[in-house]
C-alpha cells in the first residue's frame, strides 16, 4: 500500500515537472526583418530559421516584414535567431 502510494506520487511528480518544463521553455518572438521585398526572398529566412536547432515553428511574412518564431529557449536564444536572419542577407531589427 505504502509502496504504491510512493509510486503514484512519483509519477505525478514526473508528469507535473515535465509539463512545467515544456511550458516554460517554449517562447514566441516576433522579429522585424528589414529588406524582404518579395515572397521569394522570405523563403530563405524561413528555411534558415527552420533549420536552426531549437526552433519549433516559423512564420515569415514579407508584407509585414516580420518573422514569428516559436523556439525552445534552452536550445536557442533570440540573439541566435537574429544572427541566423542576418546570415540570410536581411537585417533583424531591434525595436
Amino acid at each position: 500500500m505504502r509502496k504504491s502510494l510512493v509510486l503514484t506520487f512519483a509519477m505525478f511528480l514526473v508528469v507535473g515537472m515535465s509539463a512545467i518544463s515544456v511550458s516554460a521553455i517554449t517562447k514566441k518572438v516576433t522579429i522585424r526583418v528589414e529588406g524582404m521585398k518579395c515572397a521569394n526572398c522570405s523563403g530563405s529566412v524561413k528555411k534558415a530559421l527552420k533549420a536552426t536547432a531549437g526552433v519549433e515553428t516559423v512564420e515569415v511574412n514579407h508584407q509585414t516584414q516580420e518573422a514569428v518564431v516559436e523556439y525552445d529557449d534552452e536550445k536557442v536564444t533570440e540573439a541566435k535567431l537574429r544572427e541566423v536572419i542576418n546570415s540570410t542577407g536581411f537585417k533583424a531589427v531591434n525595436e
Binding site: G35, N40, C41, G43, S44, K47, S87, T88, G89
Partner: protein
Amino acid sequence: MKCKVFLSLLFFLLPVAAAAQNSSLPDLSLKDIKGRQLRLSDYRGKVVLINFWATWCPPCRAEVPYLVRLQRDYRSHGLRVIGITSPPQTFVEVRGFVRKAKINYPVALGTQQIKALFTPSELLPMTIVIGRDGSVQDIIEEILLPEEFEQKIKPLLHKPEVLYQASRGPLNRPIRRIR
C-alpha cells in the same frame, strides 16, 4: 502470374525511366563575364553546382562567400561551382560584385529561359546539383545551408571521378579536364 510479369516489367523499366529523366539535362553553353566559354559537358566527371543568383537578391549575396569557400575547399575533390545570374542584371553590376566578393568560380549572365531549362521555379537563389555522371541529383531551393551541403552534395564527392570518364551518358561527349 500476371502480377509476377508486371513486377518483372516494372523492375526492368524503372532504371530506363530514371535514365530517361537524367538524359533531359541540357548541354548548356554560354560565356562567362571574362569571355571564357562555359560548356556543361566539359564538367563531366565533376560534381557541379549551378547557382542561379542575382546581385539584387539579398540571400544570393549572402550565399556567395559560402560558395567561394566550397569552391576553394572542395575543388581538389572534384567540386565545381558555376554562377548564372537572373535578370534584370547588367554586366557592370555583376563584374563589380564578382570583383568585390572575390568570386573564384565562373559567373555568366543568364536569362529566365536558361533557368527554365532546369526548373520552372522562380525562387532565388537556386542551386542545381549535378553528379559526376552528368545527371541532375538535386535542386536546392533558396539559400544553401551547410547541412544541405553535408547531406546532399558531399556524398557525391566521395564517388570516384574515374568511373564516369569513359561512360557515355546524357551529355555524350568525351571528358576533358578543364581548369
